[in-house]
């Protein structure tokens, strides 16, 4: 392409990059309003600005591409297709709920609220770019934008050593795994001679690669997995997760457990299903011959969910418990990726949406309990239902949904995942997942029992504000509705793959 063509492509790209532009405008608006001193501690102002900006970003991403393979924009570095639109909407929604939770949260102090919003929006920008980029260079940059800024978000709370310690661990593990992944990128670039992943996918899957030696492909797949498994908090790169989730402010924890995790899955699907697999027929994919990566992913998925659920059993800290639960859920989601067909991918996307609502909801209740004189330990939850009945009922809804009990959305998500796995004849994986669901019953129900049956140990007044109730309600409603009326969402998701 010559320069004129590129300039035209860059200009035309703005038609498809509405979400990114809206987020950039929001970042600038937050930055400028943050330096005006009288506004410095005005949480409501920053909340309104953020919500307006995110609403703008949401409307900008609503435009649906038609059928076909989508449109390349910004000098072919990005792809505008239903897949990226779906994830853009997802990330903007996650950011909106996070900022609402941060506004009502007292762990984030007034003078840091502006920066907190700014960082959440910047991480969202990184995730949105990640969902739509189809060039190794851009994927790396967007991945690092998302990661580096989430390290900073974790470090926001520095009134306790553990906040800094958590952030430090997160940075070191993150820098390590992304360095490994980058080395994998360099090998792929060398093998294909280009950075466009569609082109690389064609080259890697072509016949003349079949004779290539396996060692290189094994290394490439393992290096890619290192970065992606870290982001999704899966075995063997899950060790940071409980510490970071416990040490970070609760809204940030909620955001990390949903946003970057889903972004990890998005880029996982994008990279592995483009580079290391090719479409076969209408519904299926075939992995490259050199490495049987679906089997590796299936094994990792089984280990991840078992490890997450078994470690969660002993946890008395609710945030740590939810951290292990989120590791377990990463395991469930990996099952869908191992399936290597469209049914599995649809199940992953559906489960991610459900997970967005139920997991953010659980963390919203934790935030609300933290706000009074309460804490994160399970003893603060004993007998809580007498004092905050609505919050406890909502928490029960979220937890039942996380287990996957029928009238709630989590059940439908699990049914999709399990049916995809069983149709693919991964019976052992389905059995492991079923056993894990039973194990998870124990620790979720233990928390529910603590809230409704146990006697109160600590007497404190939970101060759940009106905004908190609104947020919790807004998250509980989809968790209930999607459990009985899931067809529209399922139909929408069917159209994106």
């Amino acid at each position: 392409m010559d320069l004129v063509q590129i300039a035209r492509s860059n200009l035309e790209g703005f038609r498809y990059a509405g979400t990114e532009v809206a987020l950039c405008v929001l970042i600038v608006a937050l930055l400028l309003s943050g330096v005006i001193l009288p506004f410095r501690k005005n949480r409501r102002l920053f909340l309104i600005i953020s919500m307006l900006g995110l609403a703008l970003a949401m409307t900008a991403s609503l435009k649906q591409p038609g059928a076909g393979k989508g449109v390349r924009y910004f000098a072919d570095l990005f792809l505008w297709d239903s897949f990226s639109v779906f994830f853009k909407l997802f990330f903007v929604a996650a950011a909106a709920f996070t900022i609402l939770m941060a506004q009502m949260n007292r762990e984030v102090e007034d003078y840091e609220f502006n920066e907190c919003c700014l960082l959440v929006v910047s991480v969202t920008l990184g995730m949105v770019l990640l969902a739509s980029s189809v060039d190794l260079l851009m994927i790396y940059l967007a991945f690092e934008t998302m990661s580096l800024l989430s390290y900073l978000l974790v470090g926001i709370r520095f009134r306790e050593a553990r906040g800094g310690e958590a952030a430090l661990k997160y940075v070191l593990y993150g820098a390590f795994t992304s360095g490994v992944m980058l080395f994998g990128f360099s090998l792929v670039y060398g093998l294909a001679g280009t950075t466009d992943i569609m082109e690389i996918g064609r080259i890697l899957n072509s016949a003349h690669m079949a004779g290539q030696n396996r060692a290189l492909f094994v290394l490439m797949v393992l290096f890619f997995l290192a970065g992606l498994l870290f982001k999704t908090a899966s075995f063997p790169f899950h060790i940071w997760c409980p510490d970071v989730y416990e040490g970070a402010p609760t809204p940030v924890t909620a955001f990390l457990s949903v946003g970057p995790k889903a972004a990890g899955f998005a880029v996982f699907i994008r990279l592995f299903y483009t580079l290391f697999a090719r479409e076969v027929g209408d519904q299926g994919f075939a992995a490259i011959e050199q490495v049987d990566w679906p089997a590796i992913v299936a094994v990792i998925s089984a280990i991840t969910m078992s490890l997450g659920n078994l470690s969660a059993i002993h946890q008395d800290n609710v945030k740590r418990l939810l951290a292990y639960s989120s590791i377990a859920h990463a395991g469930y989601l990996l099952m869908g990726i191992a399936c290597l067909d469209k049914l599995g991918l649809e199940a992953v996307a559906f489960y991610l949406v459900v997970y967005l609502f139920m997991n953010l909801g659980a963390f919203a209740v934790v935030t609300a309990v933290n706000n009074g004189e309460g804490g994160e330990d399970i003893r603060f939850y004993r007998g809580l239902s007498a004092r905050a009945p609505m919050a406890c009922v909502a928490m029960a809804v979220f937890l039942f949904s996380l287990i996957g009990i029928p009238p709630f959305a989590g059940f439908v998500g699990k049914v999709f995942l399990f049916s995809a796995v069983i149709l693919k004849k991964y019976y052992w994986l389905a059995i492991v997942a079923a056993i894990n669901t039973v194990i998870s019953l124990y620790y979720y129900v233990r928390l529910i029992k603590a809230m409704f049956i146990d006697q109160a140990e600590v007497s404190f007044e939970p101060r759940v504000s009106g905004v908190s109730y609104a947020v919790i309600g807004a998250l509980a409603l989809p968790t209930l509705v999607l459990g009985v009326y899931w067809q529209p969402l399922a139909a929408f998701i069917e159209s994106i793959f």
């Binding site: 930055l31 990005f78 260079l137 940059l141 580096l148 093998l191 030696n213 290189l216 290394l219």
Partner: protein, 166 residues
């Protein structure tokens, strides 16, 4: 002449890098890093990336390395070593590294890399990089600037908090 330069750069890249990984004295490790960065800059130049060679010296040696040495000096007496990292032990680490390197040996030698038959003459690349940064890679360039801006804000926030504490 070129081969001689190549050998020298390889030696000053690789030998100090062992020190970086092995030395128990963190100041020695940081100082060895200086040689490694310098050797890598030389390799860049031999690979036809003159601009990046200079940038390596400017960014890595006078930026990143100075920052690291700053960090080493400021936190020298702190008991930071005790933060548990819970990575695999030394033996497992050594085994893993040897395995990875063995994999590389096989991969590098056995792979038929799609080599160009005719290598183009090395030319100064600065103007080409400029064209690409303002042309095809304009958006990544802008994204990188947003990233750096947000990092600036966030890092200032973190450090400011501990100042407030004092």
């Amino acid at each position: 002449m070129k081969n001689f330069a190549f050998n020298v750069f390889v030696i000053i890249t690789l030998i100090p890098s062992f020190w970086v990984a092995l030395s128990s004295n963190i100041v020695h490790a940081a100082f060895s890093l200086f040689f490694t960065f310098f050797g890598v800059a030389g390799l860049y130049v031999l690979l036809g990336a003159d601009f990046l060679g200079v940038l390596q010296v400017l960014v890595y040696i006078s930026g990143i390395l100075v920052l690291i040495i700053f960090g080493v000096m400021m936190t020298q007496r702190a008991q930071m070593e005790h933060i548990s990292t819970r990575l695999p032990g030394r033996f497992a680490g050594a085994v893993l590294s040897v395995l990875v390197f063995g994999g590389f040996m096989v991969a590098v030698y056995k792979t038929a890399w799609p080599k160009l038959t005719e290598l183009p003459e090395p030319v100064p690349t600065t103007s080409e990089i400029g064209n690409l940064l303002l042309g095809k890679y304009l958006i990544p360039f802008e994204v990188a600037s947003v990233l750096l801006l947000a990092v600036l804000v966030g890092a200032a926030l973190i450090v400011r908090q501990s100042v407030r504490k004092e």
